[in-house]
Every structure is written in structure tokens, then in C-alpha cells.
């Protein structure tokens, strides 16, 4: 399926991409004490990416993204876990939070920083990564592309597997015939 490339939609989506992301960052930074936080901010960013992919197509999106959504999600989860561990080194329970209040920051004035913000950034990355991965994967099949690019295949698929889209291809001799429930 080829998406109709409407000039109006493409320009509006490219513009909105930045606007939505600004709002998403606002939500991310404002979180913890007010409605907002990493989760909802991550959803905002993911939505901006998805909107952009609708406008320019998943293929182009892949080319300009330059990062693997799963790696982003894993890195985010790692940040969240490591932030939760800070307390353990200080002898407090897991997930203990520490806050820091700076009173004299140039341009900003009063600034409250804390480990919850780091945790939220981790959550933000997880949500962006996971959501975009899921949606892009589904969108690829809608647009008729294979599920994995060639450079991704060795990350997500075993080398002995055929892409499921190649249904006409004859079954290759599999080195692990024992992985089958029934011998063919």
C-alpha cells in the first residue's frame, strides 16, 4: 500500500513534530509533583514520531531515525534500574529517592532536581522505544515492507529462519531439525 503523500499533511506533521516534542519534554520535566512524568511524556514523543512516520513513510523514518528503538528502550530501563539502585549503595532501601534543591541557578532561579527525574527519563526512553518499535513493525507490514531490514536481521531473527513473508520460498535444510515437534 502506498500512502498518499499530501503536501499539506507532510508539512503540518513536520511542524507538529517539534511542537509535540516540546510539549512532551514539558510533561516529562514537570512530572512527579504535578500531572505529567516520564510515561506520559514518552507517549507524547512516541506519538510525534508516529505522526511523522505516517507523513513520510516508515522506510524514510527508519533512515532518519538512526537508532534502534529496542536499544533505546533497553538503555532507558537500565537508567531506571540503576537510578533505583543508588539508595542501595547509601544503605537505604531499593528505590529510595534523593532530592536536591538549587536556589541560585543562572537564568532559571530555583531548581529542584532529584533522582525521580532520572528515573522518569528512563521511563521516557522505555516508552518511546517500545511504542515506536511496536507501531513501526505493524506499519511496515501495512506498507508492504518486510518486518526486518537486512541489517536488523541478526538482532531479531535467528540466522536459520526464513522471513515469514517469503512464503513461496522452499523450506531450507535446517541445521536444527530436532527443534521441530515432529520430524518432517
Amino acid at each position: 500500500m502506498k500512502l498518499t503523500q499530501s503536501f499539506i499533511f507532510v508539512s503540518v506533521a513536520t511542524f507538529l513534530f517539534f511542537l509535540i516534542n516540546v510539549f512532551a519534554f514539558y510533561l516529562l520535566l514537570r512530572g512527579h509533583n504535578f500531572p505529567g512524568g516520564g510515561f506520559i511524556g514518552g507517549l507524547g514523543s512516541a506519538i510525534s514520531l508516529i505522526l511523522l512516520s505516517l507523513a513520510i513513510g516508515v522506510k524514510t523514518m527508519d533512515r532518519i531515525l538512526r537508532f534502534d528503538p529496542v536499544a533505546i528502550a533497553a538503555a532507558g530501563l537500565l537508567i531506571a534500574f540503576l537510578t533505583s539502585c543508588i539508595g542501595m549503595f547509601a544503605g537505604d532501601p531499593f528505590l529510595t529517592q534523593y532530592n536536591l534543591k538549587l536556589t541560585d541557578v543562572p537564568l532559571l532561579g530555583e531548581l529542584a532536581l532529584g533522582t525521580p527525574l532520572l528515573f522518569d527519563i528512563g521511563v521516557y526512553l522505555v516508552v518511546v522505544g517500545v511504542t515506536t518499535k511496536m507501531i513501526f513493525l505493524l506499519a511496515r507490514s501495512v506498507e508492504g515492507h518486510p518486518a526486518f531490514e537486512d541489517h536488523e536481521r541478526d538482532r531479531y531473527a535467528s540466522v536459520i529462519e526464513e522471513p515469514i513473508e517469503n512464503l513461496a520460498a522452499p523450506p531450507r535444510e535446517s541445521p536444527v531439525s530436532d527443534s521441530k515437534l515432529h520430524d518432517v
Binding site: N33, F34, F39, M134, L138, I164, L167, L181, H182
Partner: protein, 122 residues
């Protein structure tokens, strides 16, 4: 309010089960979506009736007593996210089964008489 919610949860559960028992993949998928909504609603309703209470946001000048119970709301958010993850997995699984077996009918899927090269032989 709580009585109506209980009825609604019951209807959603019943309708979801009916849909899941159909053989079409799409109906099964919608059944699970309804089911997860029903369960989320049941979870949310455990906070009691929200009428006359404010949102659970701590701001200066609002009495803490007149707030809706925030815990079920936090829990239901978690549950929605988990449900979203599992359902998207279900979508992909059904899609893959469709590609592999070329059917969107669950009854046909498990029909032993349908023969295929390399299929079970017991």
C-alpha cells in the same frame, strides 16, 4: 453509581467472553480488548464512587479529605499499559498465524483433518 458500574462490568465481561468464543480472529481480538477494559473498569471501581470528590492532585488550598482514592487509578494505569503490551503481542501473533497458516478462522486452525506438508502425523 457503583451499581451501574457493576452492571457495566458484568455486561463487558459477558460480551467479551462471547466474542472470544467466536472463531474469527478479529472477533477474538476484540473480545480480548473488551475483556481487558472490563477488568480495568472492575479495578478502577474499587476506589468507590468518585462523585463529589476532587482529582487526587495535591495542590495548596484543597482539603485532602475530599479526594478520590488515587491508588486504584495508579494501578489501573499500570494494568492498561500491561494490557496494551499483551494485546499488541496478540495482534502480531494472530498476524503471524495468518501468514503461516493462511486462515483467520480459529476453528479451521485446529481442524485435525486439514492436511499440510510437514504437519502432525499422530
Amino acid at each position: 453509581m457503583m451499581f451501574e458500574t457493576a452492571i457495566l462490568v458484568g455486561i463487558l465481561f459477558g460480551f467479551a467472553v462471547w466474542l472470544i468464543l467466536q472463531s474469527s480472529f478479529v472477533k477474538i481480538l476484540f473480545g480480548f480488548i473488551l475483556l481487558s477494559n472490563a477488568a480495568n473498569l472492575a479495578m478502577l471501581s474499587s476506589s468507590g464512587s468518585p462523585s463529589g470528590r476532587s482529582a487526587p492532585v495535591v495542590l495548596d488550598g484543597i482539603a485532602v479529605t475530599a479526594m478520590a482514592d488515587p491508588l486504584p487509578q495508579a494501578l489501573v494505569l499500570t494494568a492498561i499499559v500491561i494490557g496494551f503490551g499483551v494485546l499488541s503481542y496478540l495482534v502480531v501473533l494472530l498476524y503471524r498465524i495468518f501468514l503461516d497458516q493462511k486462515t483467520t478462522n480459529a476453528a479451521e486452525l485446529f481442524d485435525e483433518s486439514r492436511s499440510q506438508e510437514g504437519g502432525p502425523e499422530q
